[in-house]
Symmetry: C2
Subunit: 240 residues, 2 copies
């Protein structure tokens, strides 16, 4: 079976968390919206009258007859299918809990540049973004990064992974968050990173996983840009 991923063509966005899992699982997939007619096909699956179980928004994944929406839900599915999560229930729930906490972190990162309305330009909410980003850099980023540092530290199988002794899907997602934060908030991250050595080391190890390294070096990896979740606006990047 060839998976079909549906997500906006020009950005990493939330789709990137799914792409990383598909790449690490070494499965066949098409990034539909990046091909000809792909964005229309995606629009039909979101808005079409004939879709019985529509997704609220991209990303969603077509897996044979299944149409699965919500990033963390897609990863729950892929994790079980391709060994990117423990097989036992306690491990599966703990893995998913970490992913949902990463999803909350990602939502807060998005809102640093869009605190008022996703439908409006950054420039129209720049003042509010300055205030929200300042709070994010000052307290929220540290709260989340500190949490994942603790999780790594307390993992009885060692700080190499978030869950047990193997790579799981939240490891891939935490790699992506660190990469994105470095792009969006380079000054703040330089300062923050020193306090979270285990998180930083995890990022480095994931980047060197052979299949992930190959993906990152390929044209399939879209560059960070000012349309995605992680955006670099120097004025939001308080290094203090």
């Amino acid at each position: 079976m060839r998976y079909e991923l549906y997500y906006w063509a020009g950005i990493q966005g939330r789709g990137e968390f799914v792409r990383l899992a598909l790449e690490e699982a070494e499965v066949e997939y098409v990034d539909v919206a990046r091909g000809p007619g792909g964005e229309s096909a995606m629009a039909r699956l979101v808005g079409g009258e004939e879709v019985q179980q529509p997704a609220f928004a991209p990303p969603f994944l077509k897996a044979g007859e299944l149409l699965i929406g919500q990033t963390a839900n897609i990863l729950l599915y892929l994790g079980a299918q391709h060994g990117l999560a423990p097989a036992d229930e306690p491990g599966r729930l703990w893995t998913h809990q970490l992913q949902l906490t990463i999803a909350d972190f990602v939502d807060e990162i998005h809102d640093t540049h869009h605190p008022i309305a996703s439908s409006r330009y950054y420039e129209d909410q720049r003042e509010e973004a300055l205030a929200r980003a300042a709070d994010f850099v000052k307290s929220r980023a540290a709260k989340y990064l500190g949490y994942f540092e603790r999780v790594l530290e307390r993992n009885r199988a060692g700080a190499q992974h978030l869950v047990g002794a193997e790579l799981t899907y939240p490891d891939l997602s935490l790699f992506q968050v660190v990469a994105g934060l470095r792009y969006a908030f380079p000054r703040a991250m330089t300062r923050l990173e020193r306090q979270y050595p285990r998180v930083v080391a995890l990022h480095g190890r994931v980047a060197e996983h052979p299949r992930i390294a190959a993906y990152l070096a390929s044209e399939r990896r879209i560059a960070f840009n000012r349309h995605g979740i992680f955006r670099h606006y120097p004025e939001l990047d308080a290094g203090a």
Copy 2:
């Protein structure tokens, strides 16, 4: 086994989505933080050095040896244990997808009164809240409510439930969202509700479920107030 729910004592908040599932499942549970010493016990489980798999924040549920965090993850677990979700994988994933979309909706509702920083008072971000709430009432609320209306309309088993022909955990959560929106945005909801008759009818049906009706009439149900997710500030409630 007696479940232990850990959540802030004075508010419905995100814990309410779990309480509704526990009540409908008719299981034995303690709302720990509402008892003597409960908030300290909760703080120890969040911040304690000895907790190997800590939650980022309440709510979390102790189920025997398991400590499960993240609202949607707790519901994934309870849904499987107590027949509040389909047993087959496609049904289980679809149910969870709907819950994660409700979680996104709830995050946006929270941010109407706290668009800049959760750690600061509403009064310190009131101007920004006016702008964010206006966008919420004008476009986001309708987008989410319209989505759930479509899901109900397209359910092949009928519009009585979101998933199949039985009550599932997102039905309980959607009930709670409608109840909360009516409290927080009474003027806007009066106008909005007319467009989403299936969602409104679902709210009414869930409220009349015998176990839910008994819960709502009991002292266990905390009243809505200005400390929770759904807050009534008349100035944010644009009826236009």
